[in-house]
Symmetry: none
Subunit: 187 residues, 4 copies
Amino acid sequence: MKEKITEKSIRLFDQKGFSETSIQDIVDSIGVTKGTFYYYFSSKEELLMDIHLRYIDDMLDNQHEILGDDSKSSKEKLFAIVQMLLSNIKTQGASAKVFFREMRNLSDESLSEIIPKRDQFRLNIEKLIEEGKQNGEFRANLNSPIIAFGILGVTNWSYQWFNPDGSISDREVAEIFTEMILKGIEI
Amino acid sequence: MKEKITEKSIRLFDQKGFSETSIQDIVDSIGVTKGTFYYYFSSKEELLMDIHLRYIDDMLDNQHEILGDDSKSSKEKLFAIVQMLLSNIKTQGASAKVFFREMRNLSDESLSEIIPKRDQFRLNIEKLIEEGKQNGEFRANLNSPIIAFGILGVTNWSYQWFNPDGSISDREVAEIFTEMILKGIEI
Amino acid sequence: MKEKITEKSIRLFDQKGFSETSIQDIVDSIGVTKGTFYYYFSSKEELLMDIHLRYIDDMLDNQHEILGDDSKSSKEKLFAIVQMLLSNIKTQGASAKVFFREMRNLSDESLSEIIPKRDQFRLNIEKLIEEGKQNGEFRANLNSPIIAFGILGVTNWSYQWFNPDGSISDREVAEIFTEMILKGIEI
Amino acid sequence: MKEKITEKSIRLFDQKGFSETSIQDIVDSIGVTKGTFYYYFSSKEELLMDIHLRYIDDMLDNQHEILGDDSKSSKEKLFAIVQMLLSNIKTQGASAKVFFREMRNLSDESLSEIIPKRDQFRLNIEKLIEEGKQNGEFRANLNSPIIAFGILGVTNWSYQWFNPDGSISDREVAEIFTEMILKGIEI
DNA sequence: AATGAATGAGGTTTCATTCAT
DNA sequence: TATGAATGAAACCTCATTCAT
């Protein structure tokens, strides 16, 4: 039941927004009553925090696995991360959008747990760029922190427009984006 | 007064969110009463629509000016757009965040006016890429629609993290991003 | 309207208790809506605090006037206070019961304002007893603090049983109690 | 278990009030679940009634024993009752406060059982005063019903302020109060 | 141009109670 | 004897909106 509530809430928060979705909306969508909601969650914010934690922990896990694979070059790791983020849209896209858009509705206490994790994800990419600079895969004069923000922009923004059921696959987009990031667009 | 209400609302919507900001919050912040608000706006949504329209029209104007400058190459136009978006963060960052985050709270009628304009901005970039492909500035095999999304990701995401009062200037970031987009990061 | 809400609330809190009286009960009893209540009070607790302050300030004023009357002996002042408390039951009895029973429902902040005033009322009686001991009206060996509690017990408890519309008047009860306090009951 | 629930409930009702204490509060405080509560009590009101009955029956028993002791004079009986009420504060103070404050939350049916017992306790004191008047211990012109209320005021009010662990003992307070009631405070 | 009083719908949350196990 | 899941009514409170002045 808790799982069911969480799943439905992610869909609703994605579609209508956190504040715009009432507990009534949530429980109606799964045919239970408000009491049931409060049996499993002590507040609406706790549910939001659950969703945040679950998402960022999952992303960090995925990232960790990729970065720990010593058989991959820095470029390959970068591609793997881009590909992971794109392919996750299908299953985790709603969570991701909630994560990026609704962080504001977390309590200060919850934020103090989430923000370091979010930053960690970005810093890991920054570290990957540094690694690539040192092993000669990437240009030595790159501003790693800004480039990391740029790469995250490319991937995270795709949650706003990419349709996993559309005519172009997540793998294709990942390839286009990785090539753009690595080689640029000029001739 | 209308201007004052709009300005303050943009700040508040940016900080707390549209649904989380009450009319009371708005009028309190400028020391008037709710009646005053409803003298100038017929609803909260009308105010939101005002903010949206003002932002996207301004962006389209800026873009239009850049794209119409025949003295610029495609690359230069691209740089100019990136630079325009970054430098706008200081004055328009709050509006931009409201634009991207709160579109959901517009009525269907308002959306039908806003969405085509938002799409137009992106399609203009797509067209610029096509133009660059044809005049030999950009690689001919680029997938323009996806690349346009990628470029918008880089710039739009910067509204989430770029601090105009920080140690790195908007111009520097624009240069880093344009170089990344044009040349990529590999050696 | 604020006055009306307060008056009705005192009646209802007296009859049913603070927690047992809903905002709905209050507004129904005067034919307005909940919004109206919250236009005048920011919370149910603020209303309770209003009632408390109004009551204790009134009692302290009354007491102050009696104690400041230099034409009265200590005994006469004591009688006047007892009489004042008894005669107040008719108009202030409901407030008094709310005051004694519902203090628990005040916030800590409100309590820190109310408790010193409540204590002041008692300490003023203690001082009156001391005064009577020194001017030879009262026995010199009295334990003033405990006796003050005893006198307040006699008067305050009367709010629980005394019916101002019954067959015995408040003046008669005040006389009986004053005689009991001054002379005791033994032969 | 039933005993444990009752004991904890008395503490909680005393501290926070009946309506302000939830079944959840009660069962949490003893580490069981709500089902357990409803195994022993059919409703929250039944528990409150249990507490009321237990208290008043106990008081009536104590009073009965004192009044039936033919070796005591009326004055001695009066002192014994005052002393009994004061000394009971330590063990029964919480019950007493619940008894006096929360009677309102009993059903009409429960009230019809409790009120006569409460009145009986007072009428027994009234009878004791009459007895003292007739045997020449108390003044013949006393208004017994009102004096009984006065005596109960002195003792019952002490539940509001007397601290059994403070510097003055219950026996000392009982002596001060009995002397005040018998001899008054004037010289 | 602006106010202040009032509304009413809907929000989150609490809680006594039920019941299958 | 005790649990845990679920209910549904009602609690306090918020807020966009209206309207007479």
